[in-house]
Amino acid sequence: MQVYLDNSATTKLDKRVLKKMYPYFSENYGNASSIHFMGEDANKALDEAKKEIGKILNCGQKNIIFTSGASEANNLIIKGIARANKEKRNTILVSEIEHSSVLAPVEQLGKEGFKIKYIPVDENGQIKMSEFEKMLDEKVLLVSVMTVNNEIGTIQDIKTISKLTHKKGALFHTDAVQAVPYLKLDINNSEIDFLSLSAHKFYGPKGVGLAYVNRKYKIFPIIDGGEQEYGIRSGTHNIPGIVGMAEALKLAYKEKTTHLKELRDYMWDRMKAEIPNINLNGDSRSRIPNNLNVRFESIEGEAIVIELSTKGICVGTGSACSSKKLRASHVLKAIGLKDEHLNSNVRFTLGKFNTKKEIDHTVDSLKKVVKRLRSFTSIKK
């Protein structure tokens, strides 16, 4: 049996999405910038996708900039806004549990002379609001806080954070990559200035995402060229991808995910009852319904992941991006895990295609794996 429980890394493309994309590969393959009828057809698909997405996210469609994914969107927004407005203000605040595609750009901006400050989080991964308020002053240009954390699934109070940010005249960005399809995103109502999304996180295709950019503010592009997307993001439009993302987003909010929470809770209940000495990392309440991040005492996370993989089960250690780098998770560190506990964690992220049978198979296998690895651990109790 093959079981995929790494849905925060990426998801399976929904067949209905694929069906929508098909004609744009080899039939309606025109370039949206061309002025002939095939170009116009492509441009029509582009416009419709923007309209659809604008409706779902409650935002002006002219503020939607298509990108290759959320890493690019995060880079574009953070570098683009900072560099275009550096004369005005020069401090950038980010939470200490952001994804590397936010942390690395701000690190780069730090080298370019910007002042970077990291907002601390509590043991549940929630922003410490009082600390945040103290850090906010009239020098802050941009605040970036993710809607949902990719490792522990913590949901932030984005609306409150954006309101506080605006009170001090700063701009607000949120990386909302892990929020769809679990949270309703309402850009206008939540006073969000900038937002990043990636289609492959919600059963859409890889290689396409978007940056919501309030074009009231000056932004510099990071890719120069053919002036697509109002000159903010040059490069031929990925029409099949864009059509796929719009369809995936539509489906995401059409279908309920309540069974996912039941399945996740069932999995955790079984694990808690049948595997000794395990702990749930992060917030048990303010958490997206598909995430379990678990610490297994006295054994190493990667060993668990690799052995489960030999049994056909795909799970993650921390975030997929860092799993090859051998670096302990900055997120688990930030929520206060002891140093000696940082290497014993596994992330299980469920998806809409998972079944109870798969969950049972996973827990059964996990029990054996944990027992075997613990049988020869060098950690003494």
């Binding site: 190493e300 060993a303 140093d339 000696e340 940082l342 020869f376 950690i379």
Partner: protein, 140 residues
Amino acid sequence: MALKYTKKVMDNFLHPKNIGEIKNPDGYAEVGNPICGDMLTFTIKVKNKKITDIKYLSFGCASNIATASVMTEKVKGMTLEKAKKFKWETIINELGGLPKQKIHCSVLVIKGLQKAIEDYETKSGKKTPHRIKTHLSKKL
């Protein structure tokens, strides 16, 4: 799989050899630590200047477990002199290669072997204890 482990690594990870702890060992070593994500303990038995038995325990990743397994298999029955010169490269060759970021596992395993031999030699009076030695050299 993001990490490309050879079949030999996987075999040694899933079916590790010489797992455990020797009671009343002649030499003992602990290397690495849980903060780094890999910690190993080794116990050895020595007779006639030869390693007659070696066992290990591991808190570590697949390659940590596999490298220790291969090393213990190779040095069992080896003279102390030869075992002291045992190289980490040999482990990597034996495993058919390791991902670049996992090379340090083989180095740690060798460190453990050398430390266990050193512990044996110290205990059996064949060598000045390491602590005293550094203390003396500081004085000098």
